[in-house]
């Protein structure tokens, strides 16, 4: 299957360096302290944040100088093409939860909430490639909605290589499973620091540079979209109080 047609278009009609359409909404739930809904193309993810609150379960897990971050990654049974038998608790989900926690721990200012716990729950409603990235992005929005201080946006993006030479950004499920390599990057776009890197399949080392740069650029573009959404949300929430916004 050709990932890029003769006109240089991908399977869903995008150009190689185009992101999928991002739609998001903050504050979708009442109960959690913060929540967000994010769609990247067909991948739809819900994120909910509870916290900071007292440590549930064993007190021994409490860290004396920082907050404990607890992440749970769950895929709805109807999210994939074939019904998923186990929404969470299998190895892949645990690994995703670990990576999510890792990425978010790098931006949350945990030192402000000693002996507390922050819960982040992420549910994938439709999985169409780039699940982890959408989850990270949704979690960032939910954290902002919850009012938990973070140093920067934590944004994740995927990138791949088509035909061994053209880098693709934000790959869909079909492009993932077609056998091409895929690189997932979770980074802080303003400082350019990479917090998590995951890669599967294989490609030659020489291409790593290109693909990583594309992924980072994708992160920055996503951040711009998310930032706008946050500002719009805050402006509408505070419209009654005349909250003003400086445009950066």
């Amino acid at each position: 299957m050709d990932l890029i047609s003769d006109q240089g278009l991908r399977l869903d009609g995008r150009r190689p360096n185009e992101l999928r359409k991002i739609r998001c909404k903050l504050g979708v739930f009442n109960q959690p302290d913060g929540s967000a809904y994010l769609e990247q193309g067909n991948t739809k993810v819900l994120a909910a944040v509870y916290g900071p609150h007292e440590i549930r379960g064993s007190r021994t897990k409490a860290l004396h100088d920082q907050a404990l971050i607890n992440c749970q990654y769950s895929m709805a049974t109807f999210s994939t093409g074939e019904r998923k038998r186990r929404p969470r608790g299998d190895r892949k989900s645990i690994e995703m939860s670990i990576h999510l926690r890792q990425a978010l721990q790098a931006v949350i200012k945990t030192e402000l909430y000693a002996r507390s716990q922050i819960d982040i729950f992420v549910e994938v409603l439709q999985a169409d490639g780039g699940n982890y990235c959408t989850c990270v992005n949704a979690a960032t929005l939910a954290l902002i909605d919850a009012g938990i201080p973070i140093t920067e946006y934590m944004v994740a993006c995927t990138a791949s290589l088509a035909n061994g030479e053209t880098p693709l950004v934000d790959i869909s499920h079909l492009e993932e499973t077609s056998g091409g390599p895929n690189l997932t990057v979770a980074a802080m776009p303003m400082s350019g620091q990479i917090v998590l890197l995951e890669m599967s399949q294989r490609f030659h080392l020489d291409h790593l540079d290109k693909v990583m740069k594309h992924a980072l650029r994708g992160c920055q573009e996503i951040k711009a979209v998310l930032d706008k959404a946050v500002r719009d949300h805050v402006a509408s929430a505070g419209a009654a109080c005349n909250w003003e916004f400086k445009t950066d």
């Binding site: 892949k92 690994e95 721990q105 390599p181 890197l197 599967s200 294989r202 490609f203 790593l208 740069k213």
Partner: protein
Amino acid sequence: MKESALSKNERTFILSALSENRRLDGRALDEFRDLNIHFGSDWGCCLVALGGTKVIAQVSCEVQQPKSTRPNEGLLLLFVELSPMAAPHFDSGRQTELAVQLNRLLEKCIKDSRCLDLESLCIAAEEKVWALRVDITVLNHEGNMVDAASIAALTALSHFRRPDVTTTGDQIIIHAPGERDLLAITVHHYPVCVSYAIFRRANCILADPSAIEERVSDGGLTFGVNACRELCTLHLGGHAPVTAQVVLQFASRAAARAAEVVNKMKEALRKDLDNRISGNITGFKECIEVNSRLSLEKDNFCVQLNSQGIKDGVKRITEKTEVEGVRNNEGESQREGFVDQHVVVLLGKGSAELINRKQKTVQSERNYRLPENEDSDENDDGDDDDDDDGDNEVSSSESSSSELISESSKSFKGSEDMDEALTDSEKEVAVESQKLGHSSSMNIVKGIELSGDSDENVTLSGLDKNHSENVWANQQPKSESEESNESRQWYADSMW
């Protein structure tokens, strides 16, 4: 069991040593430990030792139904087990996070990179295929289990032989090994994992971290590369953000190392094949060395003496039978020399040293004094070939208790730095500083009674500064000392 806490002293020591580009075991920042590959007597059984980390992998095969999404391909299952014998904090039972991560990383590296020819494992499409199962067990955790596990898994897969199958119309016949030769599995490429540990505060990246370095590190970077410089998996984890440059830089280094490792693997495979052909199957017997310690935590504790002043001091000491008194400082350390002839040299003021007469020269070299500057860290002393004999933990690896404990006579100004990883093991260096005021002569004691050997439960620890002197005085003239000497004699013999 919970993992034993990492003390601040250990952490600061390692970090400050790193800021001077020194590692605890004396390796260079980008140096890897020795890699040893051994094969068992069965096909597909492989033991890999990367320094102290030991991992064993076993491949087995079974006929099963293929996955519906891939009806023509065989199955490959990887299962990593962190055996409780590998580390005290590993529990049997549900897979911990670490085990899950290890498992996933290896799956991505070996399965997703399609290094095996799974289509050749198909017997009857959509009905029967060979399912290969690789069971990886970590036997000893001394850091960097990922690398060792990936090498073990790949070597075991290349080593494995499966039964031959013939399909005649409806019938499928699986031939016994005697009937027809077993077939090897086609491995297209060898994606080995190469790991690095990232330290933010010391601003450096180490290759092949040891267990304690891993604990102190902020993050880890693992590359799965094959010999053709193709990247098969990449994982950056932990709490250390990095820039893209760093990743690229280390990617190329990892590729170089991967090429070396693959050569070693192929070499080991070839040798084993030759051995089997000549009928000389040794199994794991040869990798269990009878003449070295197995049950202790560390092989050796290496200290490098830098300053010339120290060396001079050391020479002076070795010439004397009676040593000048030492000045005791805070901290605790002691060192044992292990030998046939135990003599305890009392260094005055509650510190003593068990010295082997014939190795006295070597031992004394280890006694060093830190000069005015705080620079002398501990390093690997490559010239010292008595490393093994030199410091060994004696008895159990419980700290304090039954050892002769001397107050550490570290005359370092920054003594906190030197309180390195002494908690678990008993490797301690008796640092003897040159006089500066005290000149009580040393008494050579024929034997010393150790707490635990007698009814008197005297526990000496470095904290008991005030008490230690009295205790020494009480303990010296005991007659059971000879007995305890002998029991230590036994210990010494079994060590080497």
